[in-house]
């Protein structure tokens, strides 16, 4: 494949801009999330920039590492999440993106498994169950995109005649369903969450402290932007409609987060396999027969 120097340079600039801008967007979004959640609970709420204060504070804390590999796993989590976001921005292979994203999650699971705290280990096991519930839906989404555009490249979604939603409405619904799991929001917040829980402390991130926790926080922001980007893909033309719909979806997630209690992992696995895989498969069979 021929890539001219100019295109290459453009890609590099786009990637650098993404690395710099994405955490700002993600941090702002999660700040707005906290503010709106507080308003829903009839509280005043923290400032919108609160997530940034938290991360800067964590960077200034003492470095306590339980073992030497912990920081490697935290950075692995960050690195693979950033890599998959760059793949999205450069309109690369969607299937590969999902694999890299899964790698990012495996890193944090390894990090949580590498320590001896039982809370951390239970959190890691629950995270594996969460991955089991959402990964099939993500892969079916990629299959649906392939059947529609005859290519795994994200580029082809943009050159495709009409928005993906016309062909993949049920896949989109399944994706919205697993978005709650991916964002670790209630009712599926049992591997870790934004609030300390009695039975699990902080789950996955229990043994990460100070700068390590800051790295994990920043990774959450990248992940948030990535997931919003994946929603945008369904409405790629025109782009602003997609961004608007993504923000609406995020608002719906906040409402769900505030009105629902946590469920058990069995309930989640059943629901996400029956509803998620069911809806996505129905859509794909319909596409296949069309």
């Amino acid at each position: 494949m021929m890539i001219t120097d100019n295109a290459l340079l453009n890609n590099i600039i786009l990637a650098v801009v993404t690395i710099i801008v994405a955490p700002f967007l993600g941090g702002l979004l999660s700040g707005i999330d906290r503010k709106i959640s507080a308003r829903m609970q009839n509280r005043f709420g923290p400032p919108i920039f609160q997530p940034f204060f938290d991360v800067f504070k964590l960077l200034g804390k003492e470095r306590i590492a339980v073992n030497q590999t912990q920081m490697v796993y935290a950075f692995g989590y960050l690195f693979f999440a950033v890599a998959s976001l760059i793949m999205l921005v450069l309109k690369q292979d969607l299937l590969m993106l999902m694999f890299v994203l899964a790698f990012s999650n495996v890193s944090i699971i390894m990090g949580a498994m590498s320590v001896r705290s039982p809370y951390s280990k239970i959190g890691a096991q629950r995270e594996i169950i969460q991955m089991m519930s959402y990964e099939p839906v993500l892969l079916l989404m990629v299959v649906g995109v392939y059947l529609t555009t005859k290519s795994f490249m994200i580029d082809s979604i943009f050159t495709h005649g009409q928005p993906l939603l016309y062909n993949l409405p049920l896949v989109f619904l399944a994706f919205i369903f697993i978005l709650t799991i991916k964002l670790r929001k209630s009712p599926f917040d049992f591997s870790t969450s934004h609030h300390g829980h009695q039975e699990l402390i902080k789950g996955l991130t229990t043994e990460f402290s100070g700068p390590q926790l800051a790295v994990i926080e920043v990774t959450h922001w990248y992940e948030l932007v990535l997931l919003m980007g994946l929603i945008v893909l369904f409405f790629a033309k025109p782009l602003w409609v997609g961004i608007l719909i993504a923000l609406v979806c995020y608002f719906i997630e906040m409402v769900i987060d505030n009105i629902s209690a946590r469920v058990t992992w069995k309930w989640m696995l059943k629901a996400s396999w029956i509803v998620g895989i069911g809806a996505a498969m129905t859509n794909i069979i319909w596409l296949y027969l069309k």
């Binding site: 609970q41 009839n42 005043f44 504070k57 200034g60 003492e62 470095r63 009695q198």
Partner: protein
């Protein structure tokens, strides 16, 4: 370093440990987090994990059994950290100070930065105590820097 120092004041994560409290002060601590007082508007979050906490809130007097737990929690918190003793029992031992098993106030076991008196301490006083503890953390951060480098 400037942005880290100013952020530290805006995001105190607290952990709450009840020694042998009668739960009066515990209820007041939790009242701080309710919509009436809403401590989160100052960035105060109740984390329940010593490795994430900046401020340790202790209620109740210390006895021979829980002194070990209290020390353990304190040692797990990363620097800079502060301790706030809430209520008469945590400050001095209160009405339990003469009991055969009670060691006294929290300061018998770990260094205390701020004493919040009262039986029970009022939520306004508790929030005030946390804010005072943040002022003390600045000095601690400076000392931490001297020690490490």
């Amino acid at each position: 370093m400037g942005i880290i120092n100013s952020s530290r004041k805006k995001s105190p994560w607290v952990m709450h440990y009840a020694c042998t409290s009668c739960n009066g002060c515990d209820i007041e601590v939790l009242a701080c987090l309710t919509p009436v007082f809403d401590a989160e508007r100052f960035g105060i979050v109740n984390v329940g994990n010593p490795k994430h906490a900046d401020v340790l809130l202790v209620t109740g007097s210390v006895n021979k059994k829980n002194a070990r737990v209290l020390k353990n929690l304190y040692n797990q918190m990363p620097e800079p950290k502060a301790v706030v003793a809430i209520g008469a029992c945590a400050c001095t031992g209160g009405i339990f100070r003469d009991c055969y098993n009670v060691l006294g106030g929290v300061d018998k076991v770990i260094p205390v930065d701020v004493y919040v008196p009262g039986c029970c301490a009022r939520p306004e006083a508790i929030i005030d105590g946390i804010v005072m503890a943040l002022g003390k953390m600045d000095e601690k951060a400076k000392n931490m820097k001297k020690v490490s480098g």
